[in-house]
Amino acid sequence: MKVSVVSRSGREVVKGGIELKDSAKVADLQEAIHAKTKKYYPARQRLTLPAQPGKSGKPVVLSQKASLSEYCEKGSGSLTVVFKDLGPQVYYSTLFFWEYVGPLIIYPIFYYLPVYKYFGYEGERVIHPVQTYAMYYFCFHYFKRIMETFFVHRFSHATSPVSNVFRNCAYYWTFGAYIAYYCNHPLYTPVSDLQMKIGFGIGVVCQIANFYCHILLRNLRSPTGSGGYQIPRGFLFNIVTCANYTTEIYQWLGFNIATQTVAGYVFLAVAAAIMTNWALGKHSRLRKLFDGKDGQPKYPRRWVILPPFL
């Protein structure tokens, strides 16, 4: 079959189009485009069907595993796809590693090295037990995240634009330093022993719960699958769509109860806002997909992320 590849402005991306076997898959088309254009490797390609005149709504994205014939105009044996360059890509695992390794290194710098001298605080520094536990807790958290990135998570789309590396690292590294500065400060005021224990207790329990949520999510996807959605079930997912975000938020809350810094709470608020944004999107996508029609199960009534609010 003949596939013509055009940009969103209508210009031909591959002159003369591409000839492929009728049984070819989308992945084969991507390889062919890469061969013809050299710089557009498959992860950079976003291929969609042309928008139908009169029909609105989001364009249909070609799924990598699917056969091209599924997308062909009925009986024509030819296909036009719209190409968009997503820009240089990095693997999600790469992105996540660099985001998380920052706080993992930065926090201990404030704990172990005499940095406060440069902020004008000379002299001996007394380290409270809570500050030591906080350092272990914080570092473990980011270590856990890195481990999950490489061994637990299954990504639907394996890559992310390179620009996200700078943006995301700025976010994590800046907040990491911001929190580390106050938690390890020579003039740090610890909370009561009881409050510290409650805080870290909540944190540890929620981190374990969060890990379990990640395992459950992983098992929704097969290792060779190209992603796609399933209704999450089991454990907290029965009550809350994004239980993984919920446990993550409560885990940070635990940390803040134990360490009590405005910096930590600001981070909690921002992180919660970002995750809530994601959760609303995920929840609405799942409800739209699992609408109870055409043999699809109906998505059960659940909280989105933070009962009893949302």
């Binding site: 400060h185 003039l187 740090y188 005021t189 360490t259 810094t261 910096a263």
Partner: protein, 200 residues
Amino acid sequence: MAAVKRAYLAVYNWAVFFGWAQVLYFAVDALLRSGHEGVYAAVERPLQLAQTAAVLEILHGLVGLVRSPVSATLPQIGSRLFVTWGILWSFPETRTHILVSSLVISWSITEIIRYSFFGTKELFGSAPSSLLWLRYSSFLVMYPTGISSEVGLIYIALQFIKASEKYCIRMPNKWNYSFDYFYASILVLLVYVPGSPHMY
């Protein structure tokens, strides 16, 4: 309902227009009468009123009364309020500087044109293209002069900010927090660098 919305916006825009017209009048009057040192004292009240009223515009954007995205109005109003209250009102030593005159005149001319544009649109349904032209062409001069005056005044205020402990929170405290107005102001100055072309 749409009529109430238009009436409210018409009243709002013309009221703030009047405030800025006052600012310009008093500023020029003081400039001619006593020189640039007296400009702030002459405009303080209408300036603070007109500028602070602009906070309503954030609300208007949030509730959907106007189309402007909150992400555009917030930094704009933020910087204006920072200079009006955080610099000029908080540090009187800055008030006699000549940059206050350029600031106040740049702001008031821009706002007079802007508010009369929107006020006319709400009242008559549309605004004359000459007013639209005036808005965009005056901006070419007023935006740089306004921004330079803002940056200049913040820079001048830095020495006074450092010397006073105003708005600073020091450790130790039970929330383990600190805030240094001097460094925060420097940060604001730095944001002007990428921020100004972005906001233009």
